[in-house]
């Protein structure tokens, strides 16, 4: 026997297979799973993995996007194209509807990220979804480092970090009580660089704003904020045109760009490999709200 054939799987093969195993387990054991899909790179990779997991059959569940109403138009356009490309269907839960009829109010700081929780939980309840796939990774933020692949949520959608089920071998336990649901994180063990390496290896397309482009931006609190309808220039802002790209594509009101000339996936991989800032720290104002910002939002039922 050729011993070379017995070499262990590569990192990307192992991660891909692990994620596919997780996604298949969920489809086989839950009655109504749904997969969160924003058009962001992690969720694109997750949908790509779902398509591979069930091939040659189609993805057996719907996608769900919680639209803050402040999403980048390039990302929304990409979202709809990607849904067609993968042969999926998508439901949209709109934060704007909640603001229009008064169920939610705009925050004084203008960010809509925390407002996503209610429409998300409502959509889960209305669809009787017992499993909700999210693209969260454990390397993103320190509260996430402790989250399980199958993460229980109570009937209020809350996460209890001090009372999580042990998760052993690759035996995922999704049993839950009526009214509870389980968040599923198939990309738990991926890092930002793994995601980019996989995007390159699999030639996965992304919204164009992940790559360098020229844009009007202004520097606020150390972060490059694009000048848009949602985030207009304020008095005193110095507006400049720079070559920028986005490392995450959340709500326009709280996602900042980074100065970058990385116009291809390989440029990005080089840049990510050399980067001196974590992706959330560099570009997400919402995680700076407090030292435990992410943990607080997760407890309340955020992604």
């Amino acid at each position: 026997m050729n011993t070379d054939q017995l070499r262990p799987l590569t990192e990307l093969q192992a991660l891909e297979s692990e994620s596919i195993h997780i996604i298949r387990e969920v489809a086989a054991t839950f009655s109504s799973p749904i997969m969160l899909f924003s058009g962001g790179k992690d969720s694109v990779v997750m949908v790509h993995l779902a398509a591979k997991a069930f091939w040659p059959a189609p993805i057996p569940f719907q996608l769900l996007h919680v639209d803050t109403g402040h999403n980048f138009p390039e990302v929304l356009q990409f979202r709809d194209q990607a849904v067609d490309f993968y042969g999926a269907s998508i439901k949209i839960a709109a934060v704007q509807d909640y603001i229009d009829d008064g169920r939610l109010r705009e925050r004084p700081d203008g960010t809509r990220n925390p407002l996503q929780t209610l429409p998300l939980l409502d959509a889960i309840t209305a669809g009787r979804h017992d499993a909700v796939f999210g693209g969260g990774r454990r390397d993103e933020e320190r509260a996430r480092a402790k989250e399980r692949v199958f993460s229980m949520r109570d009937e209020f959608g809350q996460w209890e970090p001090r009372n999580q089920r042990p998760e052993l071998w690759s035996l995922y336990n999704g049993r839950h009580l009526p009214g509870e649901h389980v968040r599923i994180f198939p990309l738990s063990n991926w890092t930002e660089l793994d995601v980019w390496d996989y995007i390159a290896a699999e030639k996965i397309n992304l919204p164009p704003i992940y790559y360098a482009h020229e844009r009007e931006v202004t520097l606020r609190d150390g972060m490059w904020i694009a000048i848009t309808e949602v985030t207009p220039a304020r008095a005193g802002d110095v507006v400049e045109v720079h070559s920028v790209r986005y490392r995450t594509v959340g709500d326009m009101s709280c996602t900042a760009a980074i100065l970058s000339a990385a116009s291809t996936v390989h440029d990005v991989i080089t840049e990510v490999g050399l980067s001196q800032l974590t992706e959330r720290g560099a570009t997400r104002a919402d995680d700076r709200l407090s030292e435990a910002a992410m943990e607080d939002r997760k407890r309340e039922g955020y992604f």
Partner: protein, 467 residues
């Protein structure tokens, strides 16, 4: 829209590149485990500027004169407030040779539960001792757990060697003590490294202060330790996740890259848990026992002529066999006989106790079976001296963090392997039938710790070597 990348130069691909190694850490309070993990992250450039800024600020606020690397591994607010670690946390770092997934297991609160969880997937366990204290009770317990869970490699980090003036004698004394302990617990692959995590000696960079030590650094060890050959070499086991029978002929645009299939396609999706498989191999479908020949191994990237442990694939069989989720496709050589009387070692993970007569669910592979506890035959007494093996004490129930021997009566026959040979398909979890909680982790068959006595009856083991 053509959903193609705007770029197509060479670069990472699925089959080239570095491999993945899973680690678990264990140690008792104040062994400096968080500092060691922080040091590994820091010295492999896995800590980025904003995280480090944060650590420096907090260190300053606490009146420390330099960044406390242990803060890098702080997770939950309660942990930061209490200065302790509550739960297993997962860390990621990489070198050009390997990516590492590290399960960081806290030393004190619920140590067994956390160490068992971390060890269940680990290729290597990194055990810490304080050079001033040497092998202590926690070391023996952690090593016993690593041995039970068949973690292939154990590395002992003798930390705080700086506080022993980098003494070779102190290191040798601990390493000798540890070797004796490892042998008595049946752990074969061990290595000891003198380290100062605070000073960075022998973590990532070789220390000139331990000239008498000529072995690898901690990272060097992790980069070179033999990896998954064990799982790949074992017998083929493939728990079926679902039966693939595409109903519609419609193909999504993305699937243009994948092979075409015809309308009567029928395949079995799953992940290979151990061994390897090729088209033409004869296999047996368990628990039924029907034989078949592998016709093809399909993936959306094309058919494979060899698939190995860890790979998610779709298997097609040459003959029409009745297969559903929960079945296991296995090598015909020594497949596990389906049993209804399961004897196992169990790590109890729940607050509620396990008693004889309890009705539970057994999750094994992709199947769930009802079960009843027919006997509890003993609990492992982990307060043992080096040179001896742990004993089984008679008990009537198992409590949180206990490791016990039990027998289960199963509602339907389960083709379960012995955990000693098959870590994946010899493992199961015990689930509460009512609220779904994960109650225990089970290892089928005899335990490697006290094999001689455990196979027959649960007498306290005799002093000396194990098999």
């Amino acid at each position: 829209m053509p959903l193609r990348s705007p770029h197509s130069p060479p670069g990472p691909n699925l089959t080239g590149g570095r491999t993945l190694l899973r680690l678990a850490t264990a140690g008792s309070v104040d062994d400096g485990k968080s500092t060691l993990v922080g040091r590994l992250l820091f010295d492999t450039n896995s800590v980025l500027a904003d995280t480090l800024d944060h650590v420096e600020q907090v260190s300053k606020r606490r009146g420390l004169d330099r960044a406390d690397l242990a803060l890098l591994t702080d997770g939950l607010r309660a942990e930061r407030e209490q200065g302790i670690t509550i739960d297993v946390a997962y860390r990621y770092f990489a070198t050009p040779a390997r990516k590492f997934i590290l399960a960081d297991c806290p030393g004190h609160v619920q140590y067994t539960r956390n160490t068992v969880t971390g060890s269940s997937t680990a290729d290597v366990i990194v055990l810490l001792v304080d050079a001033r204290k040497g092998v202590v009770e926690q070391t023996r317990r952690h090593l016993a757990v690593a041995s039970l869970l068949r973690v292939p490699h154990v590395v002992l980090v003798v930390n705080k060697i700086d506080l022993m003036n980098y003494s070779e004698d102190a290191f040798i004394a601990i390493a000798t003590d540890f070797a004796l302990l490892a042998r008595s617990l049946g752990v074969l692959e061990t290595h000891c490294i003198p380290v100062s995590a605070t000073e960075g000696d022998n973590v990532v960079t070789r220390s000139h202060r331990t000239p008498w030590y000529d072995g690898p650094t901690v990272l060097g060890y992790l980069e070179n330790v033999d990896d998954t050959r064990l799982a790949v070499g074992a017998d083929f086991r493939f728990p079926v996740q679902h039966v693939v029978r595409p109903q519609s002929a419609a193909r999504a645009p993305w699937a243009a890259r994948a092979p075409e299939v015809n309308g009567d396609y029928r395949g079995y999706a799953g992940k290979i848990e151990s061994g390897r498989v090729r088209p033409g191999d004869e296999v047996v479908v368990l628990p039924r026992g029907s034989h078949a020949v592998v016709e093809a191994i399909d993936t959306p990237d094309g058919p494979l002529d060899l698939a190995v442990a860890g790979q998610s694939v779709v298997i097609r069989l040459g003959t029409d066999v009745d297969i559903s989720r929960g079945d296991i496709i296995a090598a015909t050589d020594a497949p596990p006989a389906p049993i209804r009387d399961l004897s196992a070692t169990v790590s109890w993970l729940a607050e509620r106790e396990l008693t004889v007569g309890a009705r539970v669910l057994i999750q094994h592979g992709t199947s769930i079976t009802k079960a009843k506890v027919s006997s509890i035959d003993g609990v492992l007494d982990l307060d043992f001296e080096s040179g001896t093996v742990p004993c089984w004490r008679p008990v009537t129930s198992l409590a949180l963090n206990d490791i016990g021997r039990i027998r289960l009566a199963l509602a339907s026959p389960l083709p379960i392997d012995s955990y000693r040979e098959h870590r994946a398909t010899g493992a199961f979890i015990i689930v509460d039938d009512t609220d779904g909680w994960t109650l225990g982790a089970g290892l089928a068959g005899s335990t490697p710790l006290t094999a001689k006595s455990a196979d027959t009856q649960y007498q306290p083991a005799q002093q000396g070597k194990t098999s």
